[in-house]
C-alpha cells in the first residue's frame, strides 16, 4: 500500500489572482485521485497557508455577493469537510494582526469534523520536509 503526501503551500493573496483558488481545488481533487491509481495507492494532502497566503483564511468572505463567484472561505470549508489537514502559519497570523476569531477555524456549519490549526512555521516546515512532493501556489 503506497500513500504519498503532497503539501499544498499557499503564499499568494486571495482574489488578486486565481492561484490560491487553484491550490484549494487541486487539494480537494485528491478526494477522487484514486480513480487514476492502483488499488492501495492514494494521496494524503496537507494544506498550509503562509505569508500573505494566511489572508485567504479570513472568515466572512463575500465573494458571492461582490463577484458572483464561490468564496475561498467555502473552498477552505470544503477542504476541512474532506478531512484535509489545514495549517495556518502562526507567525504570519500575528504579523498581520489577525486574531484567531477572524480566521476560518472550522466548518461545523457544513458538518466537518476537521478543524484548521494555527501552528508555528517550524511545524509547516516539518510537513514540507516529510512530504513526497510540495506544490507552491
Amino acid at each position: 500500500m503506497a500513500i504519498k503526501k503532497v503539501a499544498f503551500v499557499v503564499d499568494k493573496l486571495p482574489y488578486k489572482t486565481e492561484t490560491s483558488r487553484l491550490a484549494l481545488t487541486h487539494a480537494i481533487s485528491s478526494q477522487t485521485v484514486e480513480i487514476h491509481l492502483e488499488d492501495g495507492e492514494n494521496i494524503t494532502p496537507v494544506l498550509a497557508f503562509i505569508g500573505e497566503g494566511v489572508l485567504n483564511c479570513i472568515k466572512g468572505q463575500k465573494a458571492s455577493d461582490m463577484y458572483g463567484i464561490t468564496s475561498l472561505e467555502s473552498h477552505i470549508k470544503n477542504a476541512l469537510l474532506t478531512d484535509i489537514r489545514t495549517l495556518i502559519c502562526a507567525e504570519d497570523v500575528k504579523r498581520f494582526g489577525l486574531s484567531n476569531d477572524a480566521l476560518i477555524m472550522d466548518a461545523e456549519d457544513i458538518g466537518a469534523d476537521m478543524v484548521s490549526e494555527i501552528v508555528p512555521f517550524d511545524e509547516i516546515m516539518e510537513e514540507m520536509n516529510t512530504a513526497d512532493h510540495i506544490l507552491f501556489f
Partner: protein
Amino acid sequence: MSKLTIGCFSSLVGSMTTDFVVKLAEAARKKGHDVDIWLSGNGTMLSKKGQRSFKDYSSLEKTIKDLVTGGVNVVACEACAEARGFHKEDLIDGFGRKSMDWYLASCFSADRVLQIGGE
C-alpha cells in the same frame, strides 16, 4: 529513467515561464526521462490550437506538438480551459483534457514534481 511531472500555471503570452516549461520538458525528454505536463489556470492557453506566430511573442505550438509526438504527455485542466472559452474542439491534437485529480495521480508516480508559474 525517471519521471518528471511539471505543473504549468503561467500564461503562454505575457511571461517567459511557459517557454521555460517547454524547454525543460524538451531537455528532460532528450535525457530519456518520462515527462508529464499539466496545464492549469492561464497555462491552458498553451493547449489551444491555431496559435499565430509573432516575432514579439513566444510561439510554442510546433515545439510542444513535437514533444507530444516524442512521448511527452500534455494535459490541460478541463475546467480551467472551459472557463476561458477553450473547448474540446480547440485542443491541439494529441493533448489531453482532464480533471485536476489527473495531475495529482501524475505527481504520485513522479520522481520529481516541478510546479511552475501561478501569477
